[in-house]
């Protein structure tokens, strides 16, 4: 019985990445075409932004006359999810997995690099179409992509290097403020920095410079943590980095030139969906390159046994320093992106809660794993948004889920795995043997 079931679902395992992306494309297109009328027909009103979680959790009104109304809406949402997401998911993968496998095979044999780029382009298309439907959905996706960068950058330190750093919100704050000041002073008319100095049309060209500058300043400030704490191993880094986070926060609270505790608003709207997507892709690529090189694997050696690493010619101090500054750079860069998405930052938002969020994403997704960080960032972010209507209870549900993960998978969902895009875009083997070339 069980084997029969797994046989039937076997095409899921044999669906290549290309197949999943095609399915995503179909779903996004379907929702675009019939989502609105379907939602109206089912009595939901408008297209549910995040699979209807917001609607389901929104009204726990248990008063008698309304409960049927609510139940009706919930049922509508479930039907909607089945019709728009689940059914196409099963049908399209089942109908096309042979075809997509063949196409993926042809592409892969032609050029692995081309295939990878095509997959990334497809992913972009799917996300773009899916987020085109609601601005809320788009915002959540943009924030999630930024969270991916932050999570990855922290995983380099806490996962790959195995130290416990808690200064990431501080790095993000530095990056956010530096890049904000840069873009605002140059391209906007503001109370803080006076009139715009350059025409706004140049802003997109200078934005990468602003971000890199933010990251670089964050990395430079990370030296304040790295120099004293990397002389030894142990708990020092955790404590010093926590102190760093609080110092940065109160520094910005007391810097009246950037708004002090009121915060800084009015950044130019530069962090659009494609811009963030490109930075995320770039971040994943560079970080993944680093951790897969022998230079990057030296981090693992330092973590697992520093003395042995040193005796095997690894310059341990330089390795730790580099990785820490590298992580700080990406956190700062992500902070810059965040500032230009929200277009308002204040010191209070780079505090303990941010730290808890980032740490949760790293440890939930999995230590020492790029894919784990992506999964962690996406799932914690979506979960956080989906459970938003629960308000306070959200902070019970998410920790409980985290505790369960820590009990059953102490290193996170997808820990200690290499992330190889070429491996991912490869066609899957089809068991019946009709794809003889595979």
């Amino acid at each position: 019985m069980a084997s029969k079931l797994t046989n039937k679902a076997a095409f899921f395992k044999q669906t290549p990445a290309l197949g999943w992306l095609l399915t995503g494309l179909v779903i996004a297109g379907l929702e675009m075409a019939v989502g609105k009328p379907l939602a109206r027909f089912l009595g939901i009103g408008k297209i549910p932004a995040l699979f209807g979680f917001l609607i389901i959790f929104k009204k726990p009104s248990l008063q008698f006359p309304f409960i049927f109304n609510d139940l009706g809406i919930i049922a509508g949402v479930i039907v909607y999810d089945i019709l728009i997401y689940l059914l196409p998911l099963v049908l399209v993968t089942w109908l096309t997995y042979r075809l997509t496998n063949r196409v993926a095979g042809v592409l892969y044999r032609k050029s692995a690099l081309l295939s990878v780029l095509l997959h990334i382009l497809l992913l972009y298309l799917v996300l773009r179409l899916w987020t085109d439907i609601s601005t809320y959905r788009e915002l959540v996706t943009r924030l999630t992509m930024i969270a991916v960068i932050v999570t990855l950058s922290l995983n380099v330190i806490n996962g790959y290097m195995g130290e416990f750093s808690t200064s990431h919100p501080g790095f993000m704050a530095v990056g956010a403020y530096v890049s904000s000041v840069f873009t605002m002073a140059l391209f906007t008319q503001s109370d803080y920095f006076g009139p715009a100095r350059l025409p706004a049309s140049l802003a997109p060209v200078f934005f990468p410079i602003a971000l890199i500058l933010g990251g670089a300043v964050a990395a430079f400030s990370a030296l304040a943590v790295a120099i004293p704490s990397f002389r030894t191993r142990g708990d020092y880094l955790a404590i010093i980095s926590l102190a760093y986070m609080f110092i940065v926060k109160s520094l910005f609270e007391n810097l009246e030139v950037v708004g002090g505790p009121r915060g800084l608003g009015g950044q130019p709207d530069l962090a659009s969906f494609p811009v963030i997507f490109v930075w995320m892709a770039l971040g994943i690529w560079i970080i993944n390159n680093f951790v897969r090189s022998t230079l990057g694997k030296a981090l693992n050696a330092v973590r697992d046994d520093e003395l042995a690493a040193d005796a095997m010619t690894v310059n341990t101090r330089k390795t730790k320093m580099t990785a820490f500054l590298f992580g700080a750079f990406w956190a700062g860069l992500a902070g810059g992106l965040l500032a230009h998405v929200l277009r308002y930052i204040n010191p209070g938002s780079f505090g303990l809660q941010k730290l808890a969020e980032v740490l949760a994403m790293v440890y939930f997704g999995g230590l020492n794993s790029v894919l784990g960080s992506i999964v962690g960032a996406v799932s914690i972010n979506l979960l956080g948004e989906a459970l938003r209507p629960l308000e306070l209870y959200k902070w019970i549900v998410i920790p409980v889920i985290l505790i369960l993960v820590m009990i059953y998978r102490p290193t996170g969902l997808i820990a200690f795995r290499e992330f190889d895009l070429v491996e991912i875009v490869k066609p899957k083997e089809i068991k019946e043997g009709d794809d003889a070339t595979a």
């Binding site: 694997k297 042995a308 690493a309 005796a311 095997m312 010619t313």
Partner: protein, 256 residues
């Protein structure tokens, strides 16, 4: 000129004198043994020469250069490979990654290469992998190249550690109790491995060992360390017949 020379090395841990006036001179290709009862300071001597501790007094000269006070990775990169008494493998890394890691000082692609996957990096990583695979082949652990070391039996872990030490391209190899925890069969195997690498790479070897049979058979000269001081030095026969050594070390063994 000797390959490695230690002159009047003394080391204190706080008020405790761990090593006193240790002298050593090893020629190219020589196999030298260091024996002594537990707590005599043998591993401390190793750690002092390899740079983990800085000697309180004295000098270490390797290939004509004073290496006293240099960091361990610098000394290792000059051509000093070592193994550890308690293995010290990296538990989340595969066998191949272990050996490649010891090529660290030979990589020149730098951070640019690491971040952007340049052609230079690909070439150097491929070279490192080839060296690593050859060493794994030599030590008979080629077929477990992609296993995590923690999944391997003890004897194989020892071989991996040896391969890792050899990947440094050492002129001298320090072996800290290479047969610790081994059964007689594995011991004989390890002896063959050491002989093999000694011939293959024309290495000098400096080893700490507890098993007399092992030391007597392999080493050309032996030093005996008791309470941080060398009480005897000579060929295996001389050491075996030295009354001081028998009293301090072998005597114990005979009695038990």
């Amino acid at each position: 000129m000797p390959l490695l020379e230690v002159k009047h090395m003394t080391h204190y841990f706080g008020g405790l004198r761990a090593v006193h006036d240790f002298n050593l001179s090893i020629e190219k290709g020589e196999i030298r043994g260091l024996i002594g009862p537990n707590g005599a300071g043998k591993s401390t001597v190793f750690n002092l020469i390899t740079g983990i501790y800085r000697p309180t007094e004295g000098q270490v000269i390797f290939k004509g250069q004073n290496i006293t006070g240099k960091r361990p990775h610098q000394i290792a990169a000059m051509g000093l490979g070592r193994t550890f008494q308690n293995l010290r493998l990296w538990r989340h890394m595969t066998v191949l990654e272990h050996v490649k890691m010891a090529r660290y000082s030979k990589l020149t692609y730098g951070l640019v290469g690491a971040f952007f996957d340049t052609r230079k990096r690909r070439r150097e990583e491929a070279e490192a992998e080839k060296v690593a695979r050859d060493l794994l082949d030599l030590l008979g652990v080629y077929n477990v190249a992609h296993e995590l070391v923690t999944n391997l039996p003890y004897g194989m872990q020892r071989r991996v550690e040896m391969a890792r030490a050899l990947a440094v391209e050492p002129d001298i190899l320090f072996l800290d109790e290479p047969t610790a925890g081994m059964n007689p069969e594995e011991l004989v195997e390890m002896m063959d491995v050491i002989r093999q690498v000694h011939q293959e790479f024309d290495l000098a070897i400096f080893l700490i060992e507890h098993r007399m049979k092992f030391v007597m058979e392999l080493c050309q000269r032996i030093q005996t360390l008791v309470f941080g001081e060398v009480i005897a030095e000579g060929t295996p026969e001389e050491i075996q017949n030295n009354p001081k050594v028998i009293e301090a070390y072998l005597g114990e063994e005979v009695e038990t």
